[in-house]
C-alpha cells in the first residue's frame, strides 16, 4: 500500500470540495492539500445543476428576506444562527466566483442579472443561462489549477475514514484504474461527497450520487441528521428523471394538468393572477409543488405517458428567443430525451428525487463530531435547509460552507498533532474487509439488490408517507442488508478498473443510508416540509417535533433514532403562507 503524508485531504471534487481545496490553499500555501475524487472533478454532480445560486444583490432584496425565505421554506427546522451566517456570505462568494471568471448572465448594462426561484420574495438567483452548476464547477476546477499546493488524485475512490479515539487519522483510498490502494495520513479531512439520491429509482442525480460519504461518516460515529427530509424536484422528465430547472418557472413557465388547468391554484398556491408573482403558483416551494402533483395524480388529473403519469410544463409563451437565451439546455434536453420541442409543445414532467436535505451534522465551519473531520455540501447537514431546501441555496451552500470547511481544516491542521503512526494497521484491516467483497462466488447480483432497495424506497418513503408503508420499507431494507452480507456475486474479480466492486461498496453504504431515511421518517409523527404523512399526522406538530432527528449507526442492526433541539434566533415558527393576493 502506498502511503502519503498530507496536511488536509478533501474527499470529493465537486463544488464544495473544490471550493474547500482552494480555500485551504489560499489560507496557507505551505499546507499540503490532497484532493481525492472518484471521478475527474469536472464529472462531479455539481455539473448538472441548472437554474441558479442565491445571493442578495437585487435592489429590492435584503439579507432579511433571504433569511426569512430560507427559514419559512425550511418549515422552521433550520438552524437559524447558521442561516444568518450563510446569507451574509453568499454574495461575496458569488462575486469571488465572478472574479474567477464564472460567466454569470448579465443585464444589458453589464451588471449581473438575477431571477426568481420558488419561495423567494425577491429575485435572488445568480445564473449562467441554465448551465449554472456546469459553469460554477468548471470555473472552480480551472481556478484550482493555479494552486501548486493542491495535489489531485483523480479517479481515486475513498473507501474508509480512519478514526481512532474520536480523531481522524487518515483516509484509505483506491486508485480506480489500477486498483492499487493508497493511505493518506493527514491532520484533517473535508468530506464533500454529495448526496444520496440514488437510493431512489426515479431521481435527477448522476450515477455517482450514491451516498457512501454519508455512510462512511455514519460508520465512524458522526450520526446523520434530518435524513427523512428528501426533496422531490417537481419538474423532471418521466422515466429518466432528468432535471428541468425551476428556472423554467422562474422565467414564467406554467404547470397544467390533463384538463389544461393550472392546478396549483387548487393546492394553496393560488390565485392564478397576477402572474408572475413571487412565492405563488409555479413559484411556490418545491415540497408544496411536488405534493400538489401527488394529489393531482391520485385524483386522476394527470396525463399518461409511456414512462408514467405526468403534467405539462408549458414554456411556449416565453418565445423562441427567450428560450434560446435563458434556457438553452432545457431546449436540448427536451428535444433529445423527450422528443418534445418546448418552443412548439409543453414538456411532460413529474417529480423525482433531487436532494437530501439531511446529512452529516456540522457546525457552520463544517466541523463534525469527529475531531479533524469536516463536511460540506450536500453530504453535510449544517442545518441550513431545515425540512425543505429552497432552490438556489445548495449552489450557494457549496461555496459558503466549502470555503468555511477548507479554512477550518487548515486551522486544525496547523495546530493539530502530526499524522500518527499505527494508522497503517487500521488501513490494512479495512482494506482486507473491502477486498473480501471480491471473493464470493455465490450470492445475488448487484443490480438485483440495488433495484430492490430503490423500489422499497419509492414504495414506502415517497412524497406522501404512512406508517405501514414506512415500516414495510424498514423491513425490506433490513432484509436487503442481510442478503448483502451473505454475499454479492461479482462477475469481475480483478483489481484494475473494477467498477462492479466499487459499486458493491457504494451499495453497502447506500443501504445503511436508506435505512436512516426510512427509520427517521417513521419516527417523525408529524408533517413538516418535504415529510408529508397521510396517516393522521398530516399537520406540523411543534410541541412534539420541532426538533432534528439523529440516526446513529448500530452495526448490523437498524439505526437508532433520537432527536435534538433546533436553534431558533429571531423567527418563531409560524404558518407557511404561499399564494394569496399580490
Amino acid at each position: 500500500m502506498q502511503t502519503i503524508d498530507t496536511d488536509v485531504v478533501v474527499i470529493g471534487g465537486g463544488g464544495a470540495g473544490l471550493r474547500a481545496a482552494i480555500a485551504a490553499a489560499e489560507a496557507d500555501p505551505e499546507v499540503t492539500v490532497a484532493l481525492v475524487s472518484k471521478v475527474v472533478p469536472t464529472r462531479s454532480h455539481t455539473v448538472a445543476a441548472e437554474g441558479g445560486a442565491a445571493g442578495v444583490i437585487h435592489p429590492d432584496d435584503h439579507l432579511d428576506k433571504h433569511f426569512d425565505d430560507t427559514v419559512s421554506g425550511g418549515d422552521w427546522l433550520c438552524e437559524q444562527d447558521v442561516v444568518e451566517w450563510f446569507v451574509g456570505r453568499c454574495t461575496p462568494e458569488m462575486t469571488q466566483l465572478e472574479h474567477w471568471g464564472c460567466p454569470w448572465s448579465r443585464q444589458p448594462d453589464g451588471q449581473v442579472n438575477v431571477r426568481y426561484f420558488g419561495g423567494m420574495k425577491s429575485p435572488r438567483s445568480w445564473f449562467a443561462a441554465d448551465r449554472t452548476g456546469f459553469h460554477m464547477l468548471h470555473t472552480l476546477f480551472q481556478t484550482s489549477l493555479k494552486y501548486p499546493s493542491i495535489r489531485r488524485f483523480d479517479e481515486c475512490f475513498c473507501m474508509d475514514l480512519l478514526v481512532e479515539d474520536g480523531r481522524l487519522r487518515g483516509v484509505l483510498a483506491v486508485y480506480v484504474p489500477s486498483g492499487d490502494s493508497l493511505l493518506l495520513r493527514c491532520r484533517a479531512a473535508v468530506l464533500a461527497t454529495g448526496g444520496a439520491g440514488r437510493v431512489y429509482r426515479q431521481n435527477t442525480n448522476a450515477g455517482i450520487v450514491t451516498g457512501e460519504g454519508m455512510g462512511m461518516a455514519l460508520a465512524c460515529g458522526t450520526g446523520l441528521r434530518d435524513m427523512e427530509f428528501v426533496q422531490w424536484h417537481p419538474t423532471t422528465l418521466p422515466g429518466s428523471g432528468l432535471l428541468i430547472t425551476e428556472g423554467a418557472r422562474g422565467e414564467g413557465g406554467i404547470l397544467l394538468n390533463r384538463h389544461g388547468r393550472r392546478y396549483l391554484q387548487d393546492h394553496g398556491l393560488g390565485p392564478v393572477d397576477p402572474w408572475p408573482r413571487p412565492r405563488a403558483m409555479e413559484l411556490g416551494p418545491r415540497d408544496r409543488v411536488s405534493q400538489a402533483f401527488w394529489h393531482e395524480d391520485r385524483a386522476g388529473r394527470t396525463l399518461s405517458t409511456p414512462q408514467g403519469t405526468a403534467v405539462h410544463l408549458d414554456l411556449r409563451h416565453l418565445g423562441h428567443k427567450t428560450l434560446e437565451e435563458r434556457l438553452p439546455q432545457i431546449l436540448h434536453l427536451a428535444r433529445t430525451f423527450a422528443a418534445v420541442d418546448p418552443v412548439e409543445a409543453p414538456i411532460p414532467v413529474r417529480p423525482a428525487v433531487h436532494y437530501t436535505m439531511g446529512g452529516v451534522p456540522t457546525d457552520r465551519h463544517g466541523a463534525t463530531a469527529v475531531e479533524g473531520l469536516y463536511a460540506a455540501g450536500e453530504c453535510a447537514s449544517t442545518g441550513l435547509h431545515g425540512a425543505n431546501r429552497l432552490g438556489s441555496n445548495s449552489l450557494a451552500e457549496l461555496l459558503v460552507f466549502g470555503r468555511a470547511a477548507g479554512e477550518a481544516a487548515v486551522a486544525h491542521a496547523r495546530n493539530g498533532p502530526a499524522p500518527a503512526p499505527g494508522v497503517e494497521r487500521q488501513a490494512e484491516a479495512a482494506l482486507r474487509q473491502w477486498h473480501a467483497l471480491l471473493e464470493p462466488r455465490r450470492g445475488e447480483r448487484l443490480a438485483t439488490l440495488r433495484d430492490a432497495m430503490q423500489a422499497a424506497m419509492e414504495d414506502g418513503v415517497g412524497i406522501v408517507r404512512e406508517a405501514e408503508g414506512m415500516a414495510r420499507a424498514c423491513e425490506a431494507l433490513a432484509d436487503l442488508r442481510a442478503r448483502y452480507r451473505r454475499g454479492v456475486r461479482l462477475d469481475d474479480t480483478g483489481r484494475a478498473f473494477n467498477t462492479e466492486w466499487l459499486a458493491t461498496l457504494e451499495l453497502g453504504h447506500a443501504l445503511k443510508v436508506a435505512e436512516t431515511i426510512a427509520h427517521a421518517a417513521l419516527a417523525r409523527r408529524e408533517s413538516r416540509g418535504a415529510h408529508l404523512r397521510s396517516d393522521g399526522y398530516d399537520r406540523r406538530d411543534d410541541e412534539g417535533f420541532l426538533c432534528h432527528s439523529l440516526a446513529w449507526d448500530q452495526g448490523e442492526a437498524p439505526p437508532r433514532i433520537d432527536h435534538a433541539p433546533v436553534t431558533l434566533t429571531r423567527s418563531a415558527p409560524g404558518e407557511r403562507v404561499y399564494g394569496g393576493p399580490a
Binding site: T42, R43, K146, P177, F497
Partner: protein, 251 residues
C-alpha cells in the same frame, strides 16, 4: 411501453491484467425506442456481464464522462440512441487516440496535463476583492467567449482530430479552445502568458483546419474556429518577438 426489440451490441474488451490484445464481444440487448447506447451498456453490466467497464455519470450530456466511439464516430453514449442503429449491430469502442485503460475506458491524463499548460483561469490585470463588486461585462462582451466556455471536456474532439492522432504533443482542440475562452474574456489580461504556449510547437500551428473537432463537438464549441482566430495573434506575437530580438542583435 412497447415490446423491446433486440439489438446486437459489439463492445471492445480489454483487461490489462489478462489480455495482450483487445478483442470484441457481442451482446444481445433488448431495447425500447428511448434507450440510449449508455443504457444498453448498463443493461449488459446489470444482467449479462458485470465486468464490462465504461464511464458515465450525469446521463444528460453535461458531465462529459461517457464519450466513446459508436460505429467509428466519437459520441456521448448517453445521447446516442439504439433505435438509430437497429436492425444493424452497433459497435462500441473506446475513444480513438487515447491509451485504453480497460474496455471502453481511456486514460485522460494527457488532456488534463495539457489543460494545465495553458493557464485556463482568469488572470486579471489587477487583483480584486469581493468588496469591489463584480466586473461589468455586457452580454455582447460575453458573446466573445461564451461558446468556448461551454466545453465539457468530453474529449470527442481529440478522438476526431487527425493531427492529435499523428502528433501526440499537439495541445489539441479543447485545450486551445479553452485558452481562447480566457483570452477572449474582457476581464482577462493573461493573453501574453497563454500565447507563449499557444504559439509554441504544440500550439495553434499544429492545426491543419480539418475541422472534425467542431463537427463532433456535442456542445457547439467550434474549437477549429477558436484555434484559427488565434493564428493571426500568434503570428503577430512571433513577429513582435522577431523584431524585439532584431533590436538586440548587431546586424
Amino acid at each position: 411501453m412497447s415490446d423491446p426489440r433486440i439489438i446486437v451490441m459489439e463492445c471492445l474488451r480489454y483487461h490489462p491484467e489478462r489480455d495482450t490484445e483487445p478483442y470484441h464481444q457481442r451482446f444481445e440487448v433488448p431495447f425500447t425506442p428511448e434507450m440510449s447506447v449508455l443504457e444498453g451498456l448498463q443493461y449488459i453490466k446489470d444482467h449479462l456481464d458485470g465486468s464490462l467497464t465504461f464511464r458515465w455519470s450525469c446521463r444528460m450530456a453535461v458531465c462529459g464522462n461517457c464519450g466513446c466511439m459508436v460505429n467509428g464516430e466519437p459520441v456521448l453514449s448517453c445521447q446516442t440512441f439504439l433505435r438509430d442503429y437497429h436492425p444493424e449491430c452497433v459497435r462500441v469502442e473506446p475513444l480513438d487516440h487515447f491509451p485504453i485503460q480497460r474496455d471502453l475506458a481511456v486514460d485522460p491524463a494527457d488532456f488534463l496535463d495539457k489543460l494545465q499548460q495553458v493557464a485556463p483561469y482568469l488572470i486579471p490585470a489587477q487583483d480584486r476583492i469581493p468588496e469591489d463588486g463584480p466586473y461589468r461585462q455586457t452580454p455582447e462582451q460575453m458573446q466573445d467567449y461564451l461558446d468556448t466556455s461551454a466545453c465539457i471536456n468530453c474529449l470527442l474532439c481529440y478522438a476526431a482530430c487527425p493531427q492529435y492522432g499523428l502528433k501526440a504533443d499537439f495541445l489539441g482542440p479543447a485545450v486551445l479552445a479553452l485558452a481562447h475562452r480566457y483570452n477572449a474574456d474582457s476581464r482577462d489580461a493573461g493573453r501574453a502568458r497563454r500565447m507563449e504556449v499557444m504559439n509554441g510547437d504544440a500550439g495553434v500551428w499544429g492545426c491543419t483546419l480539418v475541422g472534425r473537432c467542431s463537427e463532433v463537438c456535442p456542445k457547439g464549441v467550434d474549437p477549429a474556429g477558436a484555434i484559427n482566430r488565434n493564428k493571426p495573434a500568434a503570428a503577430l506575437d512571433t513577429l513582435r518577438r522577431l523584431l524585439q530580438s532584431g533590436r538586440t542583435c548587431t546586424p
